[in-house]
């Protein structure tokens, strides 16, 4: 009895000892976190202009205001689809149709916005020879952004449901079914573009929609009704002045203050640029003089440079009423909040503060550099938060883990594994649609090549983030880190001088394989086989 209880204590001791080790290294985020820090350092360091020394990564182009805006657009867009792909991999399946789904959804949305939507029932007619005719049973022509998105969602979610249904009912590998989806959707998208793009509205046979209005920037101009922001700014001067006459004095004062700040800033930057140019010219002449051995000239020029160059200050432009009116039009809130939600900007007050108060968000001409972050960042973060909550806190999360971790065990315990899988196939379709909505409403165009290869990038981001390809293991935080690594790598190599930008693929390939190896190692450690 005594020896028995002793040996039991040893067993639990052994588990105890392993615990701290597991706690640190059995987290799926540990690897990606290291790589991400490394990449941030690299991007920060290499984007600093040559000849300047700084340990502050925000000094360079990689992380100036515009750099942050653009980097996080790449990251957020990929992040949206990586969340769907990651969850699906955790549940033990793949979706290769994500990229094509993006193209399809974008095409749907753009075409519905442009031409409207109709349901047509085809039938065979024998009158005047055997041919098909269509019976239009439903038609809307002037479609709002929300309706366009909802109609598109109906189509993409049904397709996601169908793929999932085929996979769980037939038992065919999701790889092959969704590979079919990849070809099918891309082809269908192209066919639809050609079928609907008819002259004179659009070049027949074109696989793009390019002339959508800038929906997110449609505003309600007092006295003129709804129009695009740019059109409003181009109104005749008297109209602009009339609009301004109705603006409260307080707003006018604030806008005037901001505009004069901008004008002074621009003037100061112009002065600085001229001074810099002057110094450069002097230095060039100095070098020329040294070469030709003109001693006296060298002396004069050296003195001049040492004394410092004085250039006359550029006068700041005066703020006119027209400027104020245009600035006011810029502040009018959109009349299409849904389009703005997907394609607009967020955090504008922060970026304004960074320009007007913090004096950081300034480009080389003295203007505000970035006006905000792309809205897709917000959509990514909202989705990530929801996914995190579902995966780690809810019953559904436990079902997703068990469906991928041990399918038979999940089934035996009454988990509706088929529903879990089908729902996740629909979720990847949903993510692809969100991605497409962000793109369409941001750039107001769509074309058939959109989203190409995104399915593989999403899977790569998830795997780099610690998701095990065989399912059952991974975390949302990991997927987020993996996405940031992917996005930053894509951008960082662009800033390394003297290196081909495509090296980012070489780098990512290596990271992907090492991540997969690490993940497998962690998984085995948890399974108790190491």
């Amino acid at each position: 009895m005594n020896s028995e209880s002793q040996s039991q204590r040893q067993e639990s001791d052994r588990l105890e000892k392993k615990n701290w080790f597991i706690a640190i290294f059995a987290r799926p985020e540990i690897g990606p976190l290291g790589v991400m820090i490394l990449l941030f350092g690299l991007l920060g360091y290499f984007s600093i202009p040559e000849g300047e020394f700084s340990l502050n990564p925000f000094a360079g182009e990689g992380f100036n205001a515009l750099g942050i805006r653009n980097n996080f657009r790449v990251i957020a867009q990929l992040g949206i689809v990586a969340l769907g792909a990651g969850l699906l991999i955790i549940a033990g399946e793949f979706d290769l149709s994500v990229g094509s789904m993006i193209g399809f959804a974008g095409g749907c949305m753009a075409m519905i916005l442009k031409w409207g939507f109709a349901i047509v029932i085809p039938y065979i007619s024998f009158q005047g020879g055997f041919h098909f005719e269509g019976l239009k049973i439903f038609e809307i022509t002037d479609v709002s952004p929300l309706t366009a998105i909802l109609i598109t969602l109906c189509m993409t979610l049904s397709f996601g449901w169908f793929q999932g249904w085929v996979i769980v009912k037939s038992g065919i590998a999701s790889f092959i079914v969704t590979l079919g989806g990849l070809f099918f959707l891309r082809g269908l998208t192209e066919v639809c573009y050609r079928a609907f793009n008819r002259a004179p509205d659009q070049t027949a046979g074109s696989t793009t929609v390019t002339d959508l209005p800038d929906i997110k920037n449609i505003i309600n101009v007092p006295g003129h009704g709804e129009m695009e922001r740019d059109a409003a700014k181009a109104l005749p001067n008297e109209d602009l002045l009339e609009i301004l006459s109705n603006v409260p004095a307080q707003t006018v004062a604030k806008l005037t203050e901001q505009l004069s700040y901008i004008n002074e800033k621009v003037a100061a930057n112009k002065t600085a640029i001229q001074a810099k140019k002057m110094v450069e010219t002097l230095e060039k002449s100095l070098a020329g003089a040294k070469e030709s051995g003109n001693e006296s000239m060298v002396e004069i020029l050296t003195k001049k440079i040492e004394a410092g160059v004085e250039v006359p200050a550029v006068a700041a432009k005066a703020v006119t009423d027209l400027d104020i009116a245009k600035a006011y039009i810029d502040t009018i809130y959109t009349a299409r909040p849904v389009a703005n939600f997907f394609g607009g900007d967020i955090l504008e007050p922060v970026f304004d503060w960074l320009y007007f108060t913090a004096d950081w968000n300034v480009n080389m001409f003295g203007n505000q550099f970035a006006k905000g972050m792309y809205s897709c960042l917000m959509i990514w973060l909202i989705l990530a938060l929801v996914c995190y909550f579902v995966l780690s806190r809810t019953q559904a999360g436990n079902w997703i883990y068990s469906t991928g971790g041990n399918l038979n065990a999940a089934k035996a315990n009454g988990v509706p594994t088929n529903k879990v899988k089908i729902s996740l196939f629909m979720f990847t379709a949903f993510c692809a649609t969100m991605f497409a909505a962000c793109q369409v409403f941001e750039v107001n165009t769509a074309d058939t090549a959109k989203g190409n290869l995104k399915e593989l990038e999403a899977i790569a981001a998830a795997v780099i983030g610690g998701v095990v390809l065989t399912g059952g293991f991974g975390s949302i935080l990991g997927i987020i880190l993996g996405t940031i690594i992917f996005g930053i790598a894509k951008e960082a190599f662009f800033y390394i001088p003297g290196i081909d930008g495509s090296f980012y693929r070489v780098f990512l390939g290596a990271v992907l394989v090492s991540a997969a190896l690490t993940n497998e190692n962690i998984r085995k450690r948890i399974m108790g086989s190491i």
Binding site: I22, N398, N406
Partner: protein, 261 residues
């Protein structure tokens, strides 16, 4: 004492056919609460088919299954669970990659909120897991540890504790000691013994290992080629009887003589 008890589950003349193949040909079996009923037989004797019918995986072809005197009929595993039949399969139906608690409550999570998006009450679930595991003899220090870090015996205990907590009155254990080390096997037998002592649970133990059966079984049923070829109380059967019946009634003694020669 057992004579006063009523059987918890009575199986009468159970037949299961797969097409023209007769997997079970009129099997009858009574299991009493607080007893371990060992179901023995060689490969292909029909043990697996019997437990799959009892677990609701395969519907029966004919025959009667009664639980506490009431006839039951089920065609899905969920229905079998609902009438109180808990099956612990060899693979234990555990997900090694998630925590003990998440496995304990897998598919039956305690949650607050709508449908599958209800929030799991992890604290409550952890407490129940610890106390239920302790009831049949295993103290786990950390219910958040992945099941993969547990020993085979501990996993078996987890699966048994889970079945009991979710209302199993009849516990079917499919080869619980196979694929385990010597020490782990004894641990599992001790666990089964503790379940037996709880008194209200009837245990059907499927095993190949006659020594394990002799250590804990109260009653035996021997199957061969889909039929019962022998049954009896533990005290009525001698070791040679068991060996002989396990081998499907063949004269194993002859074989032993041959091998010995």
């Amino acid at each position: 004492m057992n004579e006063n008890k009523k059987p918890l589950i009575e199986i009468n003349n159970l037949v299961k056919r797969f097409g023209s193949f007769i997997a079970l040909n009129g099997v009858s079996l009574d299991v009493y609460p607080g007893e371990v009923h060992a179901l023995l037989g060689d490969n292909g004797a029909g043990k697996s088919t019997l437990i799959k019918v009892l677990a609701g995986v395969h519907p029966k072809t004919s025959g009667v299954i009664s639980i506490e005197g009431k006839e039951v009929d089920f065609s899905t595993p969920r229905q079998a669970t609902d009438v109180g039949i808990g099956t612990v399969y060899q693979d234990l139906a555990l997900n090694a990659l998630t925590s003990v608690t998440r496995n304990f409550f897998l598919g039956r999570e305690i949650k607050k909120g709508p449908g599958p998006f209800g929030v799991m009450q992890m604290k409550e679930m952890n407490e129940i897991t610890i106390s239920e595991m302790a009831k049949i003899g295993i103290n786990i220090s950390n219910p958040e540890q992945p099941v993969g870090t547990m020993s085979g015996g501990q996993r078996q205990t987890l699966a048994i504790a889970r079945a009991i907590y979710f209302g199993a009155k009849i516990l079917i254990l499919d080869e619980p000691t196979s694929a385990l080390g010597q020490k782990q096997q004894m641990e599992v037998l001790k666990t089964i013994k503790r379940v037996q002592r709880l008194g209200h649970i009837a245990i059907i133990l499927i095993t190949h290992n006659e020594i394990h059966a002799r250590l804990i079984a109260d009653r035996y049923t021997f199957l061969s080629l889909g039929e019962v070829i022998g049954k009896g109380m533990a005290e009525e059967l001698g070791g040679d009887d068991i060996k002989k019946l396990m081998a499907g009634g063949a004269e194993i003694g002859d074989l032993r003589d041959e091998l010995g020669a």
